[in-house]
Symmetry: C2
Protein backbone atom coordinates (compact mmCIF):
# COMPACT_ATOMS: atom_id res chain seq x y z
CA UNK A 1 0.00 0.00 0.00
CA UNK A 2 1.42 3.41 -0.91
CA UNK A 3 2.77 5.38 2.00
CA UNK A 4 0.63 8.41 1.25
CA UNK A 5 -2.51 6.30 1.10
CA UNK A 6 -1.51 4.57 4.30
CA UNK A 7 -0.92 7.86 6.02
CA UNK A 8 -4.28 9.25 4.92
CA UNK A 9 -6.02 6.08 6.03
CA UNK A 10 -4.21 6.03 9.32
CA UNK A 11 -5.11 9.68 9.97
CA UNK A 12 -8.73 9.08 8.94
CA UNK A 13 -8.85 6.09 11.20
CA UNK A 14 -7.51 8.22 14.03
CA UNK A 15 -10.63 10.35 13.91
CA UNK A 16 -12.95 7.40 13.51
CA UNK A 17 -11.66 5.71 16.61
CA UNK A 18 -10.51 8.74 18.54
CA UNK A 19 -13.42 8.78 20.96
CA UNK A 20 -13.04 5.10 21.67
CA UNK A 21 -9.29 5.36 22.06
CA UNK A 22 -9.54 8.41 24.33
CA UNK A 23 -11.73 6.41 26.66
CA UNK A 24 -9.36 3.46 26.43
CA UNK A 25 -6.23 5.57 27.05
CA UNK A 26 -7.18 5.85 30.70
CA UNK A 27 -6.90 2.08 31.09
CA UNK A 28 -4.22 0.93 28.66
CA UNK A 29 -0.49 1.62 28.49
CA UNK A 30 -0.48 3.12 31.99
CA UNK A 31 3.31 3.57 31.95
CA UNK A 32 3.05 5.71 28.78
CA UNK A 33 2.43 9.43 29.04
CA UNK A 34 -0.67 10.68 27.22
CA UNK A 35 0.08 12.37 23.94
CA UNK A 36 0.22 11.87 20.18
CA UNK A 37 2.35 8.72 20.23
CA UNK A 38 0.26 6.85 22.79
CA UNK A 39 -2.90 7.88 20.88
CA UNK A 40 -1.40 6.78 17.59
CA UNK A 41 -0.39 3.37 18.92
CA UNK A 42 -3.79 2.77 20.53
CA UNK A 43 -5.50 3.92 17.32
CA UNK A 44 -3.47 1.55 15.19
CA UNK A 45 -4.21 -1.39 17.48
CA UNK A 46 -7.91 -0.53 17.50
CA UNK A 47 -7.99 -0.09 13.70
CA UNK A 48 -6.56 -3.54 13.00
CA UNK A 49 -8.24 -5.54 15.78
CA UNK A 50 -11.79 -4.18 15.66
CA UNK A 51 -13.78 -6.34 13.20
CA UNK A 52 -16.27 -3.48 12.70
CA UNK A 53 -13.65 -1.35 10.97
CA UNK A 54 -12.59 -1.50 7.35
CA UNK A 55 -8.95 -1.63 8.45
CA UNK A 56 -9.47 -4.88 10.43
CA UNK A 57 -6.75 -7.54 9.97
CA UNK A 58 -7.49 -11.25 10.57
CA UNK A 59 -5.54 -12.70 13.50
CA UNK A 60 -3.30 -14.90 11.37
CA UNK A 61 -1.88 -11.78 9.70
CA UNK A 62 -1.79 -9.61 12.84
CA UNK A 63 1.94 -10.00 13.33
CA UNK A 64 4.33 -7.66 15.18
CA UNK A 65 8.13 -7.81 14.99
CA UNK A 66 10.20 -6.07 17.66
CA UNK A 67 13.94 -5.59 17.91
CA UNK A 68 15.53 -6.50 21.26
CA UNK A 69 18.70 -4.57 22.23
CA UNK A 70 17.81 -0.92 22.80
CA UNK A 71 14.14 -1.53 21.93
CA UNK A 72 12.97 -3.92 24.65
CA UNK A 73 15.89 -3.67 27.05
CA UNK A 74 18.99 -1.59 27.75
CA UNK A 75 21.94 -1.95 25.34
CA UNK A 76 24.38 0.34 27.18
CA UNK A 77 27.21 0.63 28.13
CA UNK A 78 27.30 -2.25 25.60
CA UNK A 79 25.11 -5.19 24.57
CA UNK A 80 24.34 -7.56 27.45
CA UNK A 81 25.49 -10.44 25.28
CA UNK A 82 28.88 -8.73 24.95
CA UNK A 83 29.17 -8.62 28.74
CA UNK A 84 28.33 -12.32 28.80
CA UNK A 85 30.87 -13.17 26.10
CA UNK A 86 33.66 -11.15 27.76
CA UNK A 87 33.02 -12.98 31.03
CA UNK A 88 33.16 -16.33 29.24
CA UNK A 89 36.47 -15.41 27.60
CA UNK A 90 37.92 -14.68 31.05
CA UNK A 91 36.74 -18.11 32.19
CA UNK A 92 38.40 -19.68 29.16
CA UNK A 93 41.84 -18.22 29.89
CA UNK A 94 44.13 -20.73 31.62
CA UNK A 95 45.13 -18.28 34.40
CA UNK A 96 43.87 -14.91 35.70
CA UNK A 97 44.88 -12.37 33.09
CA UNK A 98 43.99 -8.92 31.85
CA UNK A 99 45.03 -10.06 28.39
CA UNK A 100 41.64 -9.10 26.95
CA UNK A 101 41.36 -5.73 28.72
CA UNK A 102 43.46 -3.79 26.25
CA UNK A 103 42.93 -6.10 23.30
CA UNK A 104 41.50 -4.61 20.08
CA UNK A 105 38.98 -7.48 20.03
CA UNK A 106 37.44 -6.19 23.24
CA UNK A 107 37.44 -2.59 22.09
CA UNK A 108 35.67 -3.48 18.83
CA UNK A 109 33.21 -5.84 20.47
CA UNK A 110 32.04 -3.20 22.92
CA UNK A 111 31.26 -0.70 20.17
CA UNK A 112 27.68 -0.13 19.01
CA UNK A 113 26.66 -2.48 16.19
CA UNK A 114 27.44 -6.00 15.10
CA UNK A 115 30.99 -6.36 13.82
CA UNK A 116 33.44 -9.08 12.90
CA UNK A 117 35.25 -8.99 16.26
CA UNK A 118 32.03 -9.51 18.20
CA UNK A 119 31.20 -12.47 15.96
CA UNK A 120 34.67 -13.95 16.49
CA UNK A 121 34.40 -13.78 20.27
CA UNK A 122 30.89 -15.18 20.09
CA UNK A 123 31.94 -18.18 17.97
CA UNK A 124 34.82 -18.97 20.31
CA UNK A 125 32.78 -18.87 23.51
CA UNK A 126 29.80 -20.86 22.24
CA UNK A 127 31.44 -23.69 20.31
CA UNK A 128 31.14 -27.24 21.57
CA UNK A 129 28.41 -26.46 24.09
CA UNK A 130 25.12 -28.28 23.97
CA UNK A 131 22.12 -26.00 23.55
CA UNK A 132 21.10 -26.87 27.15
CA UNK A 133 24.54 -25.94 28.50
CA UNK A 134 24.50 -22.57 26.77
CA UNK A 135 20.97 -21.83 27.98
CA UNK A 136 21.86 -22.76 31.55
CA UNK A 137 25.01 -20.65 31.49
CA UNK A 138 23.19 -17.59 30.10
CA UNK A 139 20.35 -17.91 32.60
CA UNK A 140 22.82 -17.92 35.50
CA UNK A 141 24.65 -14.91 34.08
CA UNK A 142 21.44 -12.92 33.56
CA UNK A 143 20.03 -13.54 37.02
CA UNK A 144 23.33 -13.02 38.87
CA UNK A 145 25.18 -10.24 37.06
CA UNK A 146 24.34 -6.67 37.92
CA UNK A 147 24.22 -3.75 35.48
CA UNK A 148 27.14 -1.39 36.29
CA UNK A 149 25.00 1.74 36.46
CA UNK A 150 21.52 0.71 37.52
CA UNK A 151 22.29 -2.03 40.02
CA UNK A 152 19.63 -4.33 38.56
CA UNK A 153 20.40 -7.84 37.36
CA UNK A 154 20.39 -7.97 33.55
CA UNK A 155 17.12 -9.91 33.38
CA UNK A 156 15.42 -6.88 34.98
CA UNK A 157 16.84 -4.33 32.53
CA UNK A 158 13.70 -4.40 30.34
CA UNK A 159 11.65 -1.33 29.45
CA UNK A 160 8.39 -1.49 31.39
CA UNK A 161 6.37 0.55 28.82
CA UNK A 162 7.42 -1.92 26.10
CA UNK A 163 6.47 -4.89 28.27
CA UNK A 164 3.08 -3.26 28.73
CA UNK A 165 2.73 -2.68 24.97
CA UNK A 166 3.49 -6.37 24.28
CA UNK A 167 0.85 -7.40 26.83
CA UNK A 168 -1.69 -5.19 25.08
CA UNK A 169 -0.73 -6.57 21.65
CA UNK A 170 -1.21 -10.12 22.98
CA UNK A 171 -4.61 -9.16 24.38
CA UNK A 172 -5.56 -7.78 20.98
CA UNK A 173 -4.71 -11.00 19.17
CA UNK A 174 -1.28 -10.06 17.84
CA UNK A 175 1.45 -12.65 17.41
CA UNK A 176 4.51 -10.84 18.71
CA UNK A 177 7.98 -11.89 17.54
CA UNK A 178 11.33 -10.65 18.84
CA UNK A 179 13.68 -10.07 15.89
CA UNK A 180 17.12 -9.52 17.39
CA UNK A 181 20.64 -9.16 16.08
CA UNK A 182 21.62 -11.02 19.24
CA UNK A 183 21.96 -14.76 19.55
CA UNK A 184 18.70 -16.67 19.22
CA UNK A 185 19.41 -18.96 22.22
CA UNK A 186 20.58 -15.98 24.28
CA UNK A 187 17.35 -14.03 23.81
CA UNK A 188 15.20 -17.12 24.29
CA UNK A 189 16.44 -17.48 27.86
CA UNK A 190 14.38 -14.45 28.91
CA UNK A 191 11.65 -14.11 26.27
CA UNK A 192 8.99 -16.10 28.14
CA UNK A 193 9.61 -14.75 31.61
CA UNK A 194 10.23 -11.11 30.69
CA UNK A 195 7.75 -10.63 27.84
CA UNK A 196 5.49 -13.72 27.72
CA UNK A 197 6.82 -14.29 24.22
CA UNK A 198 7.19 -18.05 23.55
CA UNK A 199 10.62 -19.23 22.47
CA UNK A 200 9.44 -20.17 18.97
CA UNK A 201 8.65 -16.49 18.40
CA UNK A 202 12.24 -15.42 18.91
CA UNK A 203 14.27 -14.83 15.74
CA UNK A 204 17.95 -14.05 16.18
CA UNK A 205 21.41 -14.64 14.86
CA UNK A 206 22.00 -18.39 14.92
CA UNK A 207 24.99 -20.63 15.12
CA UNK A 208 24.90 -23.87 13.22
CA UNK A 209 24.30 -26.93 15.41
CA UNK A 210 25.22 -30.55 14.83
CA UNK A 211 22.99 -33.45 15.77
CA UNK A 212 24.91 -36.11 17.69
CA UNK A 213 22.97 -39.37 17.94
CA UNK A 214 25.11 -41.23 20.50
CA UNK A 215 24.85 -42.06 23.35
CA UNK A 216 21.59 -40.11 23.35
CA UNK A 217 20.42 -37.60 20.73
CA UNK A 218 21.56 -34.04 21.43
CA UNK A 219 22.65 -30.90 19.60
CA UNK A 220 25.98 -29.13 19.96
CA UNK A 221 26.85 -25.63 18.79
CA UNK A 222 29.56 -25.41 16.15
CA UNK A 223 31.49 -22.23 15.24
CA UNK A 224 29.66 -21.51 11.99
CA UNK A 225 27.14 -18.73 11.51
CA UNK A 226 23.79 -19.43 9.89
CA UNK A 227 23.55 -16.73 7.24
CA UNK A 228 22.33 -14.10 7.14
CA UNK A 229 23.28 -12.48 10.45
CA UNK A 230 19.97 -11.23 11.80
CA UNK A 231 20.64 -7.54 11.32
CA UNK A 232 19.91 -5.01 8.59
CA UNK A 233 18.69 -6.78 5.43
CA UNK A 234 19.03 -10.08 7.30
CA UNK A 235 15.96 -9.23 9.37
CA UNK A 236 13.39 -9.38 6.52
CA UNK A 237 15.11 -12.53 5.22
CA UNK A 238 14.79 -14.30 8.56
CA UNK A 239 11.28 -12.94 9.12
CA UNK A 240 10.27 -14.67 5.89
CA UNK A 241 12.09 -17.85 6.90
CA UNK A 242 10.50 -18.03 10.35
CA UNK A 243 7.12 -16.37 9.87
CA UNK A 244 6.37 -16.66 6.16
CA UNK A 245 4.45 -13.41 5.77
CA UNK A 246 4.99 -9.66 6.02
CA UNK A 247 4.25 -8.32 9.52
CA UNK A 248 2.09 -5.22 10.05
CA UNK A 249 3.89 -3.67 13.02
CA UNK A 250 7.65 -3.21 13.47
CA UNK A 251 9.54 -1.52 16.28
CA UNK A 252 13.27 -0.79 16.38
CA UNK A 253 15.86 1.69 17.56
CA UNK A 254 18.91 1.47 15.30
CA UNK A 255 20.17 1.47 11.73
CA UNK A 256 20.09 -2.34 11.85
CA UNK A 257 16.29 -2.07 11.97
CA UNK A 258 15.84 0.09 8.86
CA UNK A 259 15.07 -2.78 6.50
CA UNK A 260 12.63 -4.36 8.94
CA UNK A 261 10.81 -1.07 9.49
CA UNK A 262 10.67 -0.51 5.72
CA UNK A 263 9.58 -4.09 5.02
CA UNK A 264 6.33 -3.94 7.04
CA UNK A 265 5.30 -0.95 4.95
CA UNK A 266 5.01 -3.41 2.04
CA UNK A 267 2.12 -5.19 3.69
CA UNK A 268 -1.14 -4.81 1.79
CA UNK A 269 -2.69 -4.19 5.22
CA UNK A 270 -2.55 -1.11 7.42
CA UNK A 271 0.92 -1.14 8.95
CA UNK A 272 2.96 0.87 11.43
CA UNK A 273 6.71 1.39 11.94
CA UNK A 274 7.92 2.72 15.28
CA UNK A 275 11.34 4.12 16.16
CA UNK A 276 12.38 4.21 19.83
CA UNK A 277 14.58 7.25 20.45
CA UNK A 278 17.12 7.16 23.29
CA UNK A 279 16.92 10.75 24.52
CA UNK A 280 16.77 10.33 28.29
CA UNK A 281 20.19 10.82 29.79
CA UNK A 282 18.82 11.02 33.31
CA UNK A 283 16.77 7.85 33.49
CA UNK A 284 18.64 5.79 30.84
CA UNK A 285 21.03 6.98 28.10
CA UNK A 286 21.00 9.63 25.40
CA UNK A 287 22.61 8.61 22.09
CA UNK A 288 22.04 8.73 18.34
CA UNK A 289 25.16 6.68 17.61
CA UNK A 290 24.18 3.71 15.47
CA UNK A 291 20.83 5.29 14.59
CA UNK A 292 21.76 8.28 12.46
CA UNK A 293 20.50 6.82 9.16
CA UNK A 294 17.26 5.73 10.79
CA UNK A 295 16.74 9.18 12.35
CA UNK A 296 17.01 10.74 8.88
CA UNK A 297 14.56 8.21 7.45
CA UNK A 298 12.05 8.89 10.22
CA UNK A 299 12.17 12.60 9.40
CA UNK A 300 11.38 11.73 5.76
CA UNK A 301 8.48 9.44 6.69
CA UNK A 302 6.06 11.37 8.88
CA UNK A 303 3.83 8.31 9.20
CA UNK A 304 6.58 6.44 11.08
CA UNK A 305 6.26 7.10 14.79
CA UNK A 306 9.22 8.51 16.69
CA UNK A 307 8.78 7.53 20.32
CA UNK A 308 10.76 9.59 22.84
CA UNK A 309 11.85 7.62 25.89
CA UNK A 310 12.10 10.89 27.78
CA UNK A 311 8.65 12.20 26.96
CA UNK A 312 6.57 9.11 26.18
CA UNK A 313 7.73 6.72 28.90
CA UNK A 314 6.50 7.38 32.45
CA UNK A 315 9.04 4.92 33.80
CA UNK A 316 11.90 3.06 32.15
CA UNK A 317 12.61 -0.13 34.12
CA UNK A 318 10.20 -2.23 36.19
CA UNK A 319 12.04 -1.20 39.35
CA UNK A 320 13.98 2.03 39.02
CA UNK A 321 16.52 1.69 41.82
CA UNK A 322 19.22 4.05 40.78
CA UNK A 323 19.34 6.90 38.31
CA UNK A 324 22.95 7.88 38.43
Amino acid sequence: MSELLLFIRLITSFYLVLVFVSLQANECLLTWNDGFNKQAILSFIECVSNPQLETFIPEQERIAVIDHDGTLWCEKPHYTQVSYILKKIEDLLPFPSDWLSNHPLKKAATEQGINHELMELSLVTHMGLTVEQLTQSVKEFMSQTVHPRFGLTYDKMVYQPMVELITLLHQKGFKVFIVSGGGIEFVRTISEEAYQIPQERVIGTSLQTWYIGEPTPHLILVPLLVLPINNGSGKPVNIQRHIGRIPVLAIGNSDGDIEMLSYVQQSHRLSLSIFIHHDDEEREYCYDEGATQLLKLVEEHPQWLKVSMKHDFKVIFPIQTNNR
Copy 2:
Protein backbone atom coordinates in the same frame (compact mmCIF):
# COMPACT_ATOMS: atom_id res chain seq x y z
CA MET B 1 13.49 -39.89 30.48
CA SER B 2 14.59 -43.48 29.98
CA GLU B 3 12.62 -45.38 27.42
CA LEU B 4 11.76 -48.21 29.80
CA LEU B 5 10.50 -45.77 32.41
CA LEU B 6 8.53 -43.93 29.77
CA PHE B 7 6.98 -47.14 28.57
CA ILE B 8 5.98 -48.17 32.05
CA ARG B 9 4.53 -44.75 32.76
CA LEU B 10 2.71 -44.69 29.46
CA ILE B 11 1.24 -48.12 30.12
CA THR B 12 0.26 -47.19 33.67
CA SER B 13 -1.34 -44.04 32.37
CA PHE B 14 -3.28 -46.11 29.88
CA TYR B 15 -5.10 -47.85 32.69
CA LEU B 16 -5.61 -44.66 34.65
CA VAL B 17 -7.32 -42.93 31.79
CA LEU B 18 -8.73 -45.93 29.99
CA VAL B 19 -12.31 -45.45 31.10
CA PHE B 20 -12.22 -41.78 30.19
CA VAL B 21 -10.63 -42.49 26.85
CA SER B 22 -13.05 -45.29 26.02
CA LEU B 23 -15.90 -42.87 26.47
CA GLN B 24 -14.08 -40.26 24.42
CA ALA B 25 -13.22 -42.68 21.61
CA ASN B 26 -16.81 -42.58 20.47
CA GLU B 27 -16.53 -38.87 19.77
CA CYS B 28 -12.93 -38.23 18.75
CA LEU B 29 -10.93 -39.40 15.75
CA LEU B 30 -14.04 -40.64 13.98
CA THR B 31 -12.09 -41.57 10.84
CA TRP B 32 -9.82 -43.87 12.89
CA ASN B 33 -10.83 -47.46 13.55
CA ASP B 34 -11.10 -48.44 17.20
CA GLY B 35 -8.13 -50.41 18.45
CA PHE B 36 -4.84 -50.21 20.30
CA ASN B 37 -3.36 -47.35 18.27
CA LYS B 38 -6.37 -45.06 18.53
CA GLN B 39 -6.57 -45.81 22.28
CA ALA B 40 -2.86 -45.14 22.72
CA ILE B 41 -3.03 -41.80 20.91
CA LEU B 42 -6.10 -40.68 22.86
CA SER B 43 -4.45 -41.83 26.11
CA PHE B 44 -1.29 -39.90 25.39
CA ILE B 45 -3.23 -36.73 24.57
CA GLU B 46 -5.29 -37.13 27.74
CA CYS B 47 -2.20 -37.80 29.88
CA VAL B 48 -0.42 -34.62 28.80
CA SER B 49 -3.38 -32.24 28.60
CA ASN B 50 -5.31 -33.15 31.75
CA PRO B 51 -4.02 -30.93 34.58
CA GLN B 52 -5.26 -33.49 37.14
CA LEU B 53 -2.70 -36.05 36.00
CA GLU B 54 0.93 -36.28 37.05
CA THR B 55 1.92 -36.51 33.37
CA PHE B 56 0.41 -33.10 32.54
CA ILE B 57 2.54 -30.84 30.30
CA PRO B 58 2.13 -27.03 30.35
CA GLU B 59 0.87 -25.63 27.03
CA GLN B 60 4.12 -23.88 26.12
CA GLU B 61 5.86 -27.28 26.04
CA ARG B 62 3.00 -29.21 24.44
CA ILE B 63 4.59 -29.27 21.00
CA ALA B 64 3.99 -31.75 18.17
CA VAL B 65 6.16 -32.11 15.06
CA ILE B 66 4.78 -33.89 12.02
CA ASP B 67 6.48 -34.82 8.78
CA HIS B 68 4.60 -33.88 5.58
CA ASP B 69 5.21 -36.12 2.53
CA GLY B 70 3.81 -39.59 3.24
CA THR B 71 2.67 -38.58 6.74
CA LEU B 72 0.08 -35.88 6.10
CA TRP B 73 -0.42 -36.34 2.38
CA CYS B 74 0.35 -38.74 -0.45
CA GLU B 75 3.95 -38.91 -1.70
CA LYS B 76 3.40 -41.36 -4.56
CA PRO B 77 4.04 -41.93 -7.44
CA HIS B 78 6.59 -39.28 -6.36
CA TYR B 79 6.68 -36.16 -4.16
CA THR B 80 4.15 -33.52 -5.22
CA GLN B 81 6.93 -30.96 -5.24
CA VAL B 82 8.77 -33.11 -7.79
CA SER B 83 5.72 -32.98 -10.06
CA TYR B 84 5.70 -29.21 -9.65
CA ILE B 85 9.41 -28.90 -10.41
CA LEU B 86 9.21 -31.13 -13.51
CA LYS B 87 6.36 -29.03 -14.85
CA LYS B 88 8.36 -25.84 -14.24
CA ILE B 89 11.35 -27.30 -16.08
CA GLU B 90 9.12 -27.98 -19.09
CA ASP B 91 7.96 -24.35 -18.97
CA LEU B 92 11.60 -23.22 -18.87
CA LEU B 93 12.59 -25.07 -22.04
CA PRO B 94 12.63 -22.79 -25.07
CA PHE B 95 10.51 -25.14 -27.21
CA PRO B 96 8.34 -28.21 -26.59
CA SER B 97 10.74 -31.04 -25.86
CA ASP B 98 10.89 -34.40 -24.21
CA TRP B 99 14.51 -33.64 -23.32
CA LEU B 100 13.82 -34.27 -19.64
CA SER B 101 11.76 -37.44 -20.10
CA ASN B 102 14.71 -39.79 -20.42
CA HIS B 103 17.20 -37.63 -18.57
CA PRO B 104 18.99 -39.14 -15.54
CA LEU B 105 18.06 -35.97 -13.58
CA LYS B 106 14.39 -36.83 -13.90
CA LYS B 107 14.88 -40.47 -13.04
CA ALA B 108 16.82 -39.61 -9.88
CA ALA B 109 14.46 -36.84 -8.84
CA THR B 110 11.45 -39.13 -8.99
CA GLU B 111 13.03 -41.69 -6.70
CA GLN B 112 12.06 -41.90 -3.03
CA GLY B 113 14.18 -39.63 -0.83
CA ILE B 114 15.97 -36.32 -1.14
CA ASN B 115 18.96 -36.50 -3.46
CA HIS B 116 21.36 -34.18 -5.22
CA GLU B 117 19.48 -34.29 -8.53
CA LEU B 118 16.23 -33.22 -6.90
CA MET B 119 18.04 -30.33 -5.20
CA GLU B 120 19.60 -29.27 -8.51
CA LEU B 121 16.25 -29.15 -10.30
CA SER B 122 14.74 -27.33 -7.35
CA LEU B 123 17.45 -24.63 -7.30
CA VAL B 124 17.11 -24.07 -11.06
CA THR B 125 13.33 -23.69 -11.03
CA HIS B 126 13.07 -21.43 -7.96
CA MET B 127 15.92 -18.96 -8.54
CA GLY B 128 15.16 -15.32 -9.18
CA LEU B 129 11.50 -15.58 -8.20
CA THR B 130 10.09 -13.37 -5.48
CA VAL B 131 8.57 -15.28 -2.57
CA GLU B 132 5.14 -14.05 -3.69
CA GLN B 133 5.68 -15.30 -7.26
CA LEU B 134 6.68 -18.75 -6.04
CA THR B 135 3.72 -18.95 -3.67
CA GLN B 136 1.29 -17.89 -6.40
CA SER B 137 2.73 -20.38 -8.87
CA VAL B 138 2.57 -23.27 -6.38
CA LYS B 139 -0.99 -22.42 -5.35
CA GLU B 140 -2.13 -22.52 -8.98
CA PHE B 141 -0.37 -25.82 -9.53
CA MET B 142 -1.85 -27.43 -6.42
CA SER B 143 -5.41 -26.40 -7.14
CA GLN B 144 -5.32 -27.20 -10.86
CA THR B 145 -3.17 -30.30 -11.26
CA VAL B 146 -4.78 -33.68 -10.77
CA HIS B 147 -3.16 -36.72 -9.16
CA PRO B 148 -2.61 -39.35 -11.90
CA ARG B 149 -4.26 -42.18 -9.96
CA PHE B 150 -6.86 -40.66 -7.66
CA GLY B 151 -8.21 -37.87 -9.85
CA LEU B 152 -8.10 -35.35 -6.98
CA THR B 153 -6.23 -32.06 -7.24
CA TYR B 154 -3.01 -32.19 -5.21
CA ASP B 155 -4.32 -29.87 -2.49
CA LYS B 156 -6.96 -32.54 -1.71
CA MET B 157 -4.48 -35.43 -1.41
CA VAL B 158 -4.28 -35.10 2.39
CA TYR B 159 -4.98 -37.95 4.81
CA GLN B 160 -8.29 -37.24 6.51
CA PRO B 161 -7.46 -39.18 9.74
CA MET B 162 -4.30 -37.07 10.14
CA VAL B 163 -6.24 -33.85 9.57
CA GLU B 164 -8.62 -35.00 12.28
CA LEU B 165 -5.71 -35.79 14.63
CA ILE B 166 -4.27 -32.29 14.10
CA THR B 167 -7.67 -30.76 14.89
CA LEU B 168 -7.80 -32.75 18.13
CA LEU B 169 -4.25 -31.73 19.06
CA HIS B 170 -5.18 -28.07 18.50
CA GLN B 171 -8.26 -28.49 20.67
CA LYS B 172 -6.07 -29.97 23.40
CA GLY B 173 -3.69 -27.01 23.42
CA PHE B 174 -0.88 -28.47 21.31
CA LYS B 175 1.23 -26.30 19.06
CA VAL B 176 1.52 -28.39 15.91
CA PHE B 177 4.46 -27.86 13.53
CA ILE B 178 4.96 -29.42 10.12
CA VAL B 179 8.61 -30.50 9.75
CA SER B 180 9.06 -31.38 6.10
CA GLY B 181 11.97 -32.27 3.85
CA GLY B 182 10.04 -30.33 1.21
CA GLY B 183 10.46 -26.63 0.49
CA ILE B 184 9.24 -24.38 3.28
CA GLU B 185 7.40 -21.99 0.93
CA PHE B 186 5.90 -24.94 -0.95
CA VAL B 187 4.36 -26.51 2.16
CA ARG B 188 3.21 -23.14 3.51
CA THR B 189 0.91 -22.69 0.52
CA ILE B 190 -1.43 -25.35 1.90
CA SER B 191 -0.69 -25.51 5.65
CA GLU B 192 -3.40 -23.09 6.75
CA GLU B 193 -6.17 -24.25 4.45
CA ALA B 194 -5.54 -27.99 4.68
CA TYR B 195 -4.49 -28.37 8.33
CA GLN B 196 -5.19 -25.02 10.07
CA ILE B 197 -1.47 -24.87 10.78
CA PRO B 198 -0.24 -21.26 10.57
CA GLN B 199 2.63 -20.58 8.17
CA GLU B 200 5.07 -19.76 10.99
CA ARG B 201 4.65 -23.34 12.20
CA VAL B 202 5.98 -24.83 8.98
CA ILE B 203 9.63 -25.89 9.00
CA GLY B 204 11.10 -27.08 5.73
CA THR B 205 14.10 -27.03 3.47
CA SER B 206 14.84 -23.39 2.69
CA LEU B 207 16.52 -21.54 -0.11
CA GLN B 208 18.49 -18.44 0.77
CA THR B 209 16.71 -15.19 -0.11
CA TRP B 210 18.13 -11.76 -0.83
CA TYR B 211 16.53 -8.55 0.35
CA ILE B 212 16.25 -6.03 -2.48
CA GLY B 213 15.44 -2.54 -1.20
CA GLU B 214 14.63 -0.79 -4.50
CA PRO B 215 12.20 0.27 -5.86
CA THR B 216 10.23 -1.25 -2.99
CA PRO B 217 11.51 -3.78 -0.43
CA HIS B 218 11.07 -7.40 -1.51
CA LEU B 219 12.79 -10.78 -1.23
CA ILE B 220 14.03 -12.92 -4.11
CA LEU B 221 15.03 -16.56 -3.99
CA VAL B 222 18.65 -17.31 -4.83
CA PRO B 223 20.04 -20.75 -5.77
CA LEU B 224 21.73 -21.46 -2.42
CA LEU B 225 20.46 -23.94 0.14
CA VAL B 226 20.15 -22.94 3.78
CA LEU B 227 21.89 -25.76 5.59
CA PRO B 228 21.01 -28.22 6.88
CA ILE B 229 18.53 -29.70 4.42
CA ASN B 230 15.50 -30.44 6.56
CA ASN B 231 15.78 -34.21 6.52
CA GLY B 232 17.39 -36.80 8.78
CA SER B 233 19.62 -35.12 11.37
CA GLY B 234 18.66 -31.75 9.85
CA LYS B 235 15.19 -32.08 11.39
CA PRO B 236 16.25 -31.79 15.06
CA VAL B 237 18.65 -28.99 14.09
CA ASN B 238 15.89 -26.97 12.44
CA ILE B 239 13.41 -27.84 15.20
CA GLN B 240 15.81 -26.22 17.67
CA ARG B 241 16.32 -23.22 15.37
CA HIS B 242 12.60 -22.61 14.85
CA ILE B 243 11.02 -23.87 18.06
CA GLY B 244 13.81 -23.72 20.66
CA ARG B 245 12.72 -26.73 22.72
CA ILE B 246 12.30 -30.48 22.38
CA PRO B 247 8.79 -31.49 21.22
CA VAL B 248 6.83 -34.25 22.97
CA LEU B 249 5.08 -35.80 19.98
CA ALA B 250 6.62 -36.69 16.62
CA ILE B 251 5.02 -38.41 13.64
CA GLY B 252 6.81 -39.59 10.50
CA ASN B 253 6.85 -42.29 7.85
CA SER B 254 10.38 -42.62 6.47
CA ASP B 255 14.06 -43.03 7.32
CA GLY B 256 14.39 -39.25 7.05
CA ASP B 257 12.27 -39.01 10.20
CA ILE B 258 14.38 -41.32 12.40
CA GLU B 259 16.33 -38.55 14.12
CA MET B 260 13.19 -36.50 14.76
CA LEU B 261 11.35 -39.50 16.21
CA SER B 262 14.39 -40.30 18.40
CA TYR B 263 14.84 -36.68 19.44
CA VAL B 264 11.44 -36.27 21.09
CA GLN B 265 12.28 -39.25 23.30
CA GLN B 266 14.88 -36.97 24.94
CA SER B 267 12.19 -34.72 26.37
CA HIS B 268 12.02 -34.85 30.15
CA ARG B 269 8.24 -35.00 29.66
CA LEU B 270 6.09 -37.92 28.59
CA SER B 271 6.61 -38.22 24.85
CA LEU B 272 5.35 -40.28 21.94
CA SER B 273 6.81 -41.23 18.54
CA ILE B 274 4.47 -42.48 15.83
CA PHE B 275 5.34 -44.23 12.57
CA ILE B 276 2.79 -44.19 9.74
CA HIS B 277 3.05 -47.43 7.76
CA HIS B 278 1.99 -47.46 4.11
CA ASP B 279 0.38 -50.90 3.86
CA ASP B 280 -2.79 -50.20 1.95
CA GLU B 281 -2.33 -51.02 -1.71
CA GLU B 282 -6.04 -50.80 -2.43
CA ARG B 283 -6.86 -47.39 -1.03
CA GLU B 284 -3.39 -45.76 -1.33
CA TYR B 285 0.01 -47.45 -1.77
CA CYS B 286 1.93 -50.26 -0.11
CA TYR B 287 5.70 -49.68 0.24
CA ASP B 288 8.55 -49.99 2.72
CA GLU B 289 11.05 -48.40 0.33
CA GLY B 290 12.73 -45.50 2.09
CA ALA B 291 11.51 -46.70 5.49
CA THR B 292 13.41 -49.96 6.05
CA GLN B 293 15.71 -48.55 8.77
CA LEU B 294 12.79 -46.95 10.55
CA LEU B 295 10.77 -50.19 10.40
CA LYS B 296 13.63 -52.01 12.14
CA LEU B 297 13.86 -49.31 14.79
CA VAL B 298 10.13 -49.45 15.47
CA GLU B 299 10.43 -53.21 16.07
CA GLU B 300 13.17 -52.49 18.62
CA HIS B 301 11.16 -49.79 20.42
CA PRO B 302 7.81 -51.23 21.43
CA GLN B 303 6.75 -47.91 22.93
CA TRP B 304 6.83 -46.29 19.46
CA LEU B 305 3.45 -46.62 17.79
CA LYS B 306 3.23 -48.26 14.37
CA VAL B 307 0.07 -47.00 12.73
CA SER B 308 -1.27 -49.10 9.86
CA MET B 309 -3.01 -47.06 7.18
CA LYS B 310 -4.88 -50.21 6.18
CA HIS B 311 -6.16 -51.14 9.62
CA ASP B 312 -6.22 -47.87 11.58
CA PHE B 313 -7.59 -45.46 8.97
CA LYS B 314 -11.30 -45.71 8.15
CA VAL B 315 -10.81 -43.50 5.10
CA ILE B 316 -7.67 -42.14 3.47
CA PHE B 317 -8.56 -38.95 1.59
CA PRO B 318 -11.31 -36.43 2.37
CA ILE B 319 -13.11 -37.45 -0.81
CA GLN B 320 -12.21 -40.90 -2.04
CA THR B 321 -13.19 -40.73 -5.70
CA ASN B 322 -11.21 -43.49 -7.25
CA ASN B 323 -9.42 -46.51 -5.85
CA ARG B 324 -7.73 -47.80 -8.94
